[in-house]
């Protein structure tokens, strides 16, 4: 292909998305994604988690990486080429190599068709098989690779299968396409606990066997920790901390990271929450335009936090956007 492979597989550079909401009269601007930058290396497959709660902008970021939404500023650069500037061939490659798995195992299927549809269409569109036989072969191999039996799956409608089976079919689809990156948006949050590990293991498998990198979007840091190498934590559109996942979880630097990680329930009755936290008692409408977005809820805030927006700076093994760590 025309794109180069040196260095970065995916580079997200100053990505920003501003939505205009409200009617014709009262339009407000919502900065969903605010100057986000990160990258994924090309030499080896990695799993990067983008973590955040609602309103963090993680889903919008994922949508921009998949090319469904145009960024307001900044760019998504795949294998050296900006997605918005790609020619036909480059776009086809990008389309095939960057795939996704979504949260709702039911919604990802068109209920009018059998589940075969979602496997056949990409084979046909990307010309991955020349005959019907070849197509069938590709499909059965893929289903086997995800632990499903063709006889039990093909010809059925989505509502006839379980959530776990449906997510596996989605992974089978990814297996067929041999992507370089899979954007997995909360792939297990709608599944029962006892089925989640199965899907997570398949992801790890796919990564190992096919060199697929994953962008794992979630609010559930426990599963993130299980599958990821690195993590980027987002808060209200901005990235507040990024780094190797073990380090960030063991020793979160940003006050929001710390609050988030501490608030995750540990499935061990011997390790219960000790501190009492305060939830907001009323809606706070303040949106500090200049300072740090976490100012209102931060227990370590400084005077400078109110007026100056912190930027990501390196601290130990990671990058943090917090004035507590900015060496002036």
């Amino acid at each position: 292909m025309i794109m180069n492979d040196s260095g970065k597989l995916l580079e997200v550079s100053h990505l920003t998305k501003i939505f205009g909401i409200g009617g014709l009269i009262r339009r407000r601007e919502l900065v969903a994604v605010d100057d986000v930058s990160f990258n994924m290396p090309a030499e080896r497959p990695t799993t990067l988690t983008i973590a955040g709660e609602s309103g963090s902008g993680k889903t919008t970021t994922a949508r921009m990486i998949l090319g469904f939404i145009r960024p307001t500023h900044g760019g998504v650069i795949y294998r050296g080429k900006n997605v918005l500037n790609m020619n036909r061939d480059e776009w086809k490659t990008y389309r095939r190599e960057v795939q996704a798995i979504f949260q709702d195992p039911f919604g990802a299927f068109n209920s009018m068709y059998t589940v075969d549809h979602v496997l056949r269409v990409p084979i046909q569109k990307f010309k991955m098989a020349k005959t019907d036989e070849e197509t069938g072969q590709l499909i059965s191999t893929a289903l086997e690779a995800v632990g499903l039996r063709s006889g039990e799956i093909l010809g059925k409608y989505p509502h006839q299968l379980s959530g776990g089976q449906r997510q596996r079919i989605m992974l089978a689809r990814a297996f067929i396409l041999r992507p370089r990156i899979v954007v997995a948006d909360e792939p297990v949050s709608m599944l029962d606990a006892s089925m989640r590990a199965g899907i997570l293991h398949l992801m790890l498998d796919l990564k190992k066997k096919q060199n697929v990198s994953f962008l794992y979007i979630t609010h559930d840091l426990s599963t993130a920790h299980y599958v990821s190498d690195a993590i980027a934590i987002m808060y209200q559109g901005s990235m507040v901390e990024t780094g190797p996942i073990d380090d960030v979880i063991a020793d979160p630097l940003h006050p929001y990271s710390r609050l988030l990680i501490d608030s995750i329930p540990i499935p061990d009755p011997g390790q219960r929450w000790q501190e009492h936290i305060e939830l907001p008692s009323k809606e706070s409408q303040t949106q500090t335009l200049d300072g740090c977005k976490f100012y209102d809820r931060c227990e370590f805030r400084l005077e400078v936090c109110k007026t100056q927006r912190p930027v990501l700076k390196q601290e130990k093994t990671r990058f943090v956007a917090c004035h507590l760590y900015q060496t002036s």
């Binding site: 014709l24 998949l66 469904f68 086809k92 389309r95 095939r96 795939q99 996704a100 979504f102 949260q103 709702d104 919604g107 990802a108 299927f109 068109n110 209920s111 009018m112 068709y113 979602v118 269409v121 990409p122 046909q124 569109k125 990307f126």
Partner: protein, 294 residues
């Protein structure tokens, strides 16, 4: 994109599975059966009976039902049953044309509105809302009064002026919600272009809605025709169920106790409403499984 993607064998298979849904629903089946009766019997009746029965002075006026005239005659000596047959077919024809135009136009508008969004959507939406909220009957009365020679076809067109608004809104809503569904994103990730996506992924969903809308529009069109005709604004020279009632009212049929003149059209109207209503209800249950009695 190619249309070859809908392989013939598979298309037939999909058509049968598509039809299996509605026909397995009890409401739909009942309604459909009733509707079939509504079409077949008048058709046979018209084909098998002599057109003389409709001529003025064919028989003695105001005869009650008898073996010669199963539903009697009107004040001008015309056989009522024969009129009923022709009238039913004409009313159905008006319903069909108005509903077809309305649903097709509405679907296109609704779809364009949802897909393009922005100012196109805003404009079309305002237009739709206007047509939905103004009292259509009033305007139809006005228009009917202005149009000189009202034929059955003209009647249908007039009714169609307002018949598109509701389908437009429904289809728009449906298309909007579908647009955000993940399977649409999946299709894009599979390399489908916009047009192919619309035809292969969205249309099958919308077809169901469009059919349901069509049935609804049909019902509504018959109702509107009846209303306009009773007011004297219908196709004067032709026979429809509404026109029969107008003739009956104008000849003081109720006063004179000629029940066999006004009762049959009323009965057929109720029967057709009911059949269309059941079909619509059945279709809704099929489209939205949550409505099924479970």
């Amino acid at each position: 994109m190619t249309l070859k993607s809908a392989l013939p064998g598979r298309l037939a298979g999909r058509l049968t599975s598509f039809l299996r849904g509605p026909f397995s629903n009890r409401n739909f089946d009942t309604g459909f059966a009733m509707f079939a009766i509504l079409v077949v019997i008048p058709l046979l009746g018209v084909l098998l009976s002599s057109p003389d029965l409709l001529r003025v002075g064919n028989s003695s006026p105001a005869l009650p039902p008898s073996p010669d005239h199963l539903l009697g005659t009107d004040v001008l000596g015309r056989d009522i049953l024969a009129q009923l047959f022709v009238g039913t077919l004409n009313s159905l024809e008006i319903g069909l044309i108005a509903a077809a135009i309305g649903t097709a136009a509405g679907a296109i508008i609704g779809f364009v509105s949802a897909y393009y969004g922005g100012i196109v959507d805003d404009t079309l939406r305002v237009l739709t809302d206007v047509f939905l909220s103004i009292p259509s009957l009033m305007f139809l009365v006005l228009i009917s009064a202005l149009v000189r020679a009202v034929t059955v076809e003209a009647m249908a067109m007039i009714i169609a002026i307002f018949a598109w608004a509701w389908p437009a809104r429904q289809i728009r809503a449906q298309a909007l919600s579908l647009k955000e569904h993940e399977f649409v994103y999946m299709a894009r990730l599979s390399g489908m272009g916009s047009f192919e996506l619309i035809v292969r992924e969205l249309m099958p969903h919308m077809l169901q809605w469009m059919i349901a809308n069509f049935v609804n529009a049909f019902l509504s069109a018959i109702l509107t025709e009846t209303g306009l005709s009773i007011l004297g604004l219908g196709p004067q020279t032709e026979r429809t169920l509404g026109m029969m009632l107008w003739w009956a009212l104008n000849s003081a049929a109720m006063y004179r106790g000629l029940w066999w003149w006004w009762a049959p059209p009323v009965f057929v109207l109720i029967f057709s409403f009911f059949s269309l209503y059941l079909m619509h209800a059945g279709l809704e249950e099929v489209i939205n499984p949550k409505l099924r009695g479970r």
